[in-house]
């Protein structure tokens, strides 16, 4: 594993309380600084659990997570929040809050309990709003935003933390093509221009294939493949993990990502994933 990695994960195991099944079983990988790293896998394969372990919200039963050379238990929550901005899967927010208030919360780790927001803080908030193209929405209540706007507001909050690393859990779920692309373009820009490290959990295999530098494919809590997209998204691996026959094509372009592997699920199959004409039923 590289010495200067953002995240270094070794032999991570975890089981939820009261469950005998391991939610994560021997996961190891490293995320180099400034790369866009995606974690993919079917529902229930342990993607979100892995993120929670990376972020110290859950404690591993075995193995360890090292961030920027220091094992996770050695980080205070506040120091970690100055390093890592997180966009969790959106829960419902019960009380009226404006977009600006949500984004200002990103300054919490820099201010603490009593600090008063100063010029730097306001500048960070303004820049985050601009970066996510929601300056015009700043005074709108979060509850009145569309799914795409809301998601950008949560990304803006993470950016207001001015993090070295950004961790996102399915940020483009239920977004249309344009909003989905905007988020991925923003993440690509952050890694290229600002050298931010991005760790992303997503179900969008094809977008992940085009934007990710490396990816981890999880299968029932265990790593099925790890590496650059064209090594991970091979037909046999994807079919086996997802239980559905696929063809693998190449993105036709134009664009810098022309040729990236694209997964095309095949029709005419029964739910077990066996071809209908396969005879077994």
């Amino acid at each position: 594993m590289s010495a200067g990695a953002a995240f270094e994960v070794s032999d991570l195991c975890f089981a939820y309380e009261g469950s005998s099944r391991l939610a994560l079983d021997g996961v190891s990988f490293a995320v180099a600084p400034g790369v866009l790293y995606t974690v993919i896998g079917p529902n229930g394969s342990g993607k979100s659990t892995l993120l929670k372990l990376l972020l110290g919200a859950l404690q591993p039963a075995q193995g360890r997570v090292v961030y920027a050379g220091r094992p996770l238990p050695g980080w205070s929550r506040r120091d970690l929040a100055r390093q890592i901005g997180v966009v969790p899967q959106g829960g419902e927010i019960m009380f009226p809050v404006t977009v600006r208030e949500i984004v200002e919360m990103g300054r919490y780790p820099h201010l603490g309990l009593l600090g008063r927001p100063g010029r730097l803080d306001h500048a960070a908030v303004d820049e985050a709003l601009e970066r996510c193209d929601i300056v015009g929405l700043a005074d709108r209540p979060l509850s009145r935003l569309s799914g795409g706007e809301r998601q950008r507001a949560l990304v803006a909050r993470a950016l207001a933390q001015q993090p070295a690393t950004l961790v996102l859990d399915e940020p483009t779920i239920s977004l249309d093509i344009r909003h989905e692309m905007q988020i991925f373009e923003l993440l690509a820009e952050l890694t290229r221009q600002d050298s931010v490290t991005v760790v992303l959990v997503t179900h969008h295999l094809n977008l992940a294939a085009r934007y990710a530098d490396r990816m981890l494919l999880l299968d029932g809590g265990a790593p099925a493949a790890e590496g650059p997209p064209n090594q991970v998204l091979r037909r046999e691996a994807v079919e086996q993990v997802y239980g559905w026959p696929v063809a693998v094509g190449a993105h036709p372009g134009p664009g810098r990502d022309a040729g990236a592997p694209q997964i095309l699920p095949l029709a005419g199959t029964d739910p077990s994933g066996e071809p209908v004409d396969g005879g077994a039923s």
Binding site: A57, G85, T98, Y108, L113
Partner: protein
């Protein structure tokens, strides 16, 4: 604090001051405002001075403290539980207090000395608070707010059953005084209670208001708060214990006065939003001011007899709140 927040709080503080002065004018005998001011300054005739200084002022101050404590506790618990229906009495504190109060009445302590009833109620409230905490902390790592909510509600129900069981065997007189206590009243107010409650509430209020920013983060989600660097478990525990201690004291001196702690924070949110740096102090002022007015109505509306103040808070407050809700949605 931004200038806008300061202005809003100043407006509320001024309204509280006006409510306090007005409340000293109304009652069994109406006193014009100039005479109220003279009495506070230590001048004017002696009867007026006694009515204002010994009866109405301590009672108005106590109403403010109780209303403020309930407003603040309600706002805090709503953020902690991320539940708009949370209110100060949801987690069984009031039922615990009622068990203590009923015990004091039934066992005859309250006939021995007046102070035994609030003390017994306070101890009952503390018992409920720590029982709920015990249950919630026994279910896995950290304080699970869903368990806190459920544990609080069922422990409250258990205490209510205990009260009903005891009252079934109580005399008619005991039954009556227990029911009146539970309806809530500020009639027992005196300077002792007002001073004691001030000294008690100020530190709790100060710490809670300082927690405004972590509560902001907590109110949008525990996971989010954790990732923003909030020490979530510590904040949750402090918010629960401090708000429960405030409610315990309020309920001990005044019984169960509903509605203030539920609706006041929502009313503030509807008008000014959910930033706890504004919401927490505003809930204190608005809750306190509202209870001062409600208590004034309770003791002056129906001639010599007093109406239960909890009835007034709901009768006056609900229509006002519904009006606010409709106007905001339109």
């Amino acid at each position: 604090m931004s200038a806008r927040v300061a202005l809003r709080l100043a407006i509320l503080a001024l309204a509280v001051l006006l409510a306090l002065v007005a409340s000293m004018g109304f009652g069994a005998a109406d006193i014009p405002v100039p005479e109220v001011m003279r009495a506070i300054g230590g001048r004017g005739d002696e009867t007026t001075r006694t009515i204002v200084m010994e009866l109405r002022l301590p009672r108005a101050l106590l109403a403010f403290l109780v209303g403020g404590a309930l407003g603040l506790a309600g706002a805090t618990l709503q953020a902690l539980l991320r539940n708009p229906l949370a209110e100060p009495f949801l987690l069984g504190v009031s039922s615990g207090a009622a068990v203590g109060a009923v015990a004091a009445v039934v066992l005859g302590w309250s006939a021995l000395a007046a102070w035994t009833l609030p003390v017994a109620a306070f101890l009952g409230a503390l018992l409920a608070t720590f029982l709920v905490l015990f249950v919630a902390s026994r279910t896995g790592r950290g304080l699970d707010t869903r368990v806190l909510l459920l544990g609080g509600v069922v422990i409250g129900m258990f205490f209510n059953a205990v009260i009903l069981l005891v009252l079934t065997f109580a005399s008619a007189e005991t039954f009556r005084s227990a029911i009146f206590w539970m309806m809530g009243s500020l009639a027992a107010a005196d300077w002792g209670a007002a001073v004691l409650l001030t000294g008690y509430t100020v530190p709790a209020v100060a710490v809670l208001v300082l927690m405004a920013r972590p509560l902001n983060a907590l109110s949008v989600g525990e996971e989010t708060a954790l990732y923003l660097g909030v020490r979530v478990e510590r904040v949750k525990l402090a918010a629960y214990i401090l708000s429960s201690l405030l409610v315990a004291a309020a309920v001990a001196v005044s019984g169960v006065i509903g509605f203030v702690g539920l609706i006041i924070p929502h009313a503030i949110r509807l008008v000014w939003g959910s930033d706890h740096r504004m919401l927490l102090p505003a809930s204190i002022f608005a809750g306190g001011g509202f209870l001062v007015i409600a208590d004034t109505v309770a003791r002056s509306a129906a001639g010599p007899s007093e109406l239960p103040v909890g009835v007034i808070t709901a009768l006056v407050g609900v229509p006002l709140f519904v009006l606010l809700l409709i106007r905001r949605k339109a």
